[in-house]
Amino acid sequence: MFKKTLLTLAITGSAVLVMGAKAPEDILDALARKTNNAPYLVQSPQNRMMMPDNPAYDVAEEGAILFKTPRGPKNVSMEKCDFGKGPGVLEGAYVELPRYFADAGKVMDLDSRLAYCMKTLQGFTDNDPAVKVKHGSGSDVMKLQTYIAAKSNGMPWNPPLNHPLEKAMRDAGEVMFYRRSGIMDFGCVTCHTKEGARIRASVLPNVYKPDEWTKAISWPAYRISQENVRSSQHRLIECLWQMRYPNMKNGSDASIALISFWTDAARGAPAILPDLKR
């Protein structure tokens, strides 16, 4: 018994050492070396320099406090929330999202899972600012997301596809990725299937290269141009805006399908969390 505990401790300890050893910028540097300096990864030396002082760390710290504090009408913390690896297990949970949750009966991303737990565990409603405000470094949602996601830093993206619904959502997301529509005929495919292509000065990530695509989907990231930490859901609506598409509901099934596909496209490549982007 004692021996077993010791062994577990040792294994956990070394795992923390191995993973904890790499800061997000180290992971980015390693990917840059591996890809022979893929233009998307190395486009901004300034942003790379700022990564050790990423303002997202403060947001994550606030998230840690929020996570552990009893809150909401039921006055409980989020420590009982199951993000897919058991109640309260955060290490590696985010790189295995979106996934199917039997309690909710649907595939959820981090954004929607957070809202689910805040409502079911803590008793918040959709109209409470804690759940309703989805964007901005000052929002509870972004503080919690940044904290939880950072617990997957350096781990390979590995969204499960065993449940038929996970597979169905990922496959529908793939169809949507290639689907062209709107007044300008755009689809995700227009910008994200070439290596090193640019819109004006911005190098675009290529969905076919997991080692560069991982940076594209590593959200939350602090966006220098917006002075806020942003989520995957936020990235999505900004893309849709540029594509001249109508607005999409946060956590909607279409958004989960797209995020399921884009996460699967980065499978095996290490997450950079929190990231810092233009």
Binding site: A168, A172, R180, I183, R244, N247, M248
Partner: protein
């Protein structure tokens, strides 16, 4: 006049779609009701308001994608657009968009290529009095501007600012500004090609509907979709061809 016609066509198309959607809903309700015994009609309204349980895993990926886009409440389908249509119209594919939706390593068939080129060629209208060059300075502003027609969470208001041509998003033009690389570089466009009537027509056609020349191109159908009007196209053409334009002077 031309623009008005295309808006009317788009509105008609959008209302046709709403009719189709309505028709489908009516059919499925009808089915559910015919399955019930006749005496049910006397009882209070059956629970048609209850959302039907939809099995995502029973659908093909394409059917599920269409369901997610149009039936799942994911998009704001009623969001107004600057051209007077709505979100549903923006998400509904026309023939060219359907033919040009190609999955990874899927190639355009010869038949589809001919169809896209024919549809695109038929869409091109020429200005009364022929293709002329406008003001390259205005064209320069239009080529740089990426404003216009964006909706989602922050719709562009076309009143105060006119929609731009988005050219620099994808093309390098004059070298004093950084252009994208999704499309080819157009630096020295007029200097290299001259400005014969044939070259003007070739360029006008590409700006108006590039699918007639390059089927399933990434380039928006600026004329055919009413993104740019005749005067704006003339100004952008001047930016490309005028010897005084920075595109041809560097």
């Amino acid at each position: 006049m031309l623009k008005k016609t295309s808006i009317a066509a788009a509105v008609a198309a959008a209302s046709a779609l709403i009719l189709i959607a309505g028709g489908c809903a009516a059919t499925s309700t009808g089915k559910a009701e015919t399955a019930k015994p006749a005496q049910d009609t006397a009882k209070p309204a059956p629970d048609t308001a209850k959302p039907k349980a939809v099995d995502y895993t029973a659908m093909t990926p394409t059917a599920l994608a269409e369901y997610l886009i149009f039936e799942s409440g994911s998009y704001d389908l009623n969001q107004p657009t600057q051209e007077g249509t709505n979100g549903r119209a923006r998400l509904t594919q026309d023939e060219i968009q359907k033919a040009c939706t190609l999955k990874k390593s899927e190639e355009l068939s010869d038949k589809a290529r001919e169809k896209v080129m024919a549809l695109a060629a038929a869409s091109i209208r020429y200005p009364e009095g022929g293709i002329k060059l406008g003001d390259w300075k205005k064209g320069r502003q239009l080529a740089w501007s990426g404003f216009g027609f964006r909706t989602a969470h922050n719709p562009d208001k076309h009143g105060p600012g006119e929609a731009g041509g988005n050219c620099y998003n994808c093309h390098q033009l004059a070298t004093d500004r950084t252009g994208g690389t999704i499309g080819p570089s157009l630096t020295d466009y007029g200097k290299i090609r001259g400005s014969s009537p044939e070259m003007l027509k070739y360029t006008y056609d590409i700006i108006y509907n590039a699918n007639a020349t390059f089927p399933c191109t990434n380039m928006p159908r600026n004329g055919a979709n009413g993104i740019l009007n005749d005067a704006q196209i003339a100004d952008i053409m001047a930016y490309l061809f005028d010897p005084e334009s920075p595109v041809n002077k560097h």
